[in-house]
């Protein structure tokens, strides 16, 4: 029997050769694009990293919020807002009754939820295999202004808001988070558009002296 190898949905956009590949959470990903000093510098200007390997879990339906609470998950109260669990995992409320949960780096909450007892009526699983990104840096607003028509400044976003909009014609989910003491943005999109959106965003990042960097720059667990 052959063991299946997962590969990041963004793989097609990555250059062959020069970059260093590794396996995180069972998925082949690029762990380093350039030297670590240069990646540090890129991160300050406009860094972009691939976080597609983080486990995801989705659920929707009229009883979804209650069921999540029963599992000990923090449920954001407002539609289109997010909350963090104690272990660092994210809970995004997409609209009124749909939720996206993403593992903390190194965590396995989603796997546990998947194995949890039979779901009651009014709770439906939604499979999630999005491409996901982390963005940071001084020029991040310039990037948003180029790819998106709505105001995504921190003031406009509020603290716990989740925005569903389009980047360069592709539907995305976006939120802002302070992580390990720094401001970052998280973006998710349909995995089939992953390479396209990566190319668009990495291209803009390059123009602002930034560019692709390994995920270890954002999550010390993967340094």
């Amino acid at each position: 029997m052959q063991t299946e190898k997962l590969i990041t949905p963004i793989a097609h956009a990555f250059p062959v050769g020069s970059v260093a590949w590794g396996v995180i959470n069972g998925m082949q990903v690029v762990t380093r694009f350039v030297g670590s000093d240069e990646e540090e510098a890129r991160k300050e200007f406009l860094g972009i990293a691939d976080a597609s390997f983080l486990g995801k879990f989705g659920v929707k339906g009229r009883n979804a919020a209650q069921w999540l609470q029963d599992q000990g998950i923090v449920v954001p109260e407002q539609p289109n807002s997010w909350a963090g669990n104690a272990d660092g995992s994210l809970v995004l409320r997409l609209g009124g009754s749909e939720f996206l949960i993403e593992n903390a780096p190194g965590g396995n909450l989603c796997e546990k939820l998947l194995k949890a007892d039979a779901k009651p009526a009014g709770v439906y699983l939604v499979p999630h295999v999005e491409a996901s990104f982390v963005l940071s840096g001084n020029a991040v607003q310039e990037l948003f202004a180029e790819v998106c028509s709505i105001d995504l400044t921190r003031a406009a976003l509020g603290v716990q808001e989740v925005v569903m909009t389009q980047f360069a014609g592709v539907s995305v989910v976006l939120m802002h988070q302070d992580l390990e003491g720094e401001a970052r943005y998280r973006v998710w999109c349909d995995s089939s558009y992953g390479p396209y959106l990566w190319e668009v965003m990495a291209g803009i990042a390059n123009e602002h002296s930034g560019g692709p960097i390994g995920i270890g720059n954002y999550f010390s667990a993967y340094k």
Binding site: P79, N80, G95, G96, S149, V163, M164, T165, V172, V173
Partner: protein
């Protein structure tokens, strides 16, 4: 850039939305073939204020917009069943 307001996600460029046609009520299932064909094919094509289905693609939200098809002015948007609510 034209804008439309999704009742859940707020005001967005029109390019984020998909038009779903006029809200229509199907005739009873035991209606005549003629009535059914009329429902399937014919539309109220003349301009006026109409209630229409619209879809906010990034979030998957279907809602209703009341719009003047002559002037393209949107009078209000709401979720189905929440017509009166603010």
């Amino acid at each position: 850039m034209k804008l439309l307001t999704c009742p859940v996600n707020g005001t967005r460029p029109l390019s984020e939305f998909v038009f779903g046609g006029e809200c229509r009520v199907p005739p009873a299932a035991d209606c005549s073939d003629k009535v059914w064909a009329d429902y399937v094919h014919n539309r109220h094509g003349a301009p006026g204020i109409k209630q229409e289905w619209w879809y906010h693609a990034p979030s998957g939200t279907w809602f209703i917009a009341e719009r003047n098809t002559l002037t393209d002015q949107v009078i209000r948007t709401f979720l189905k069943g929440q017509e009166g609510k603010q």
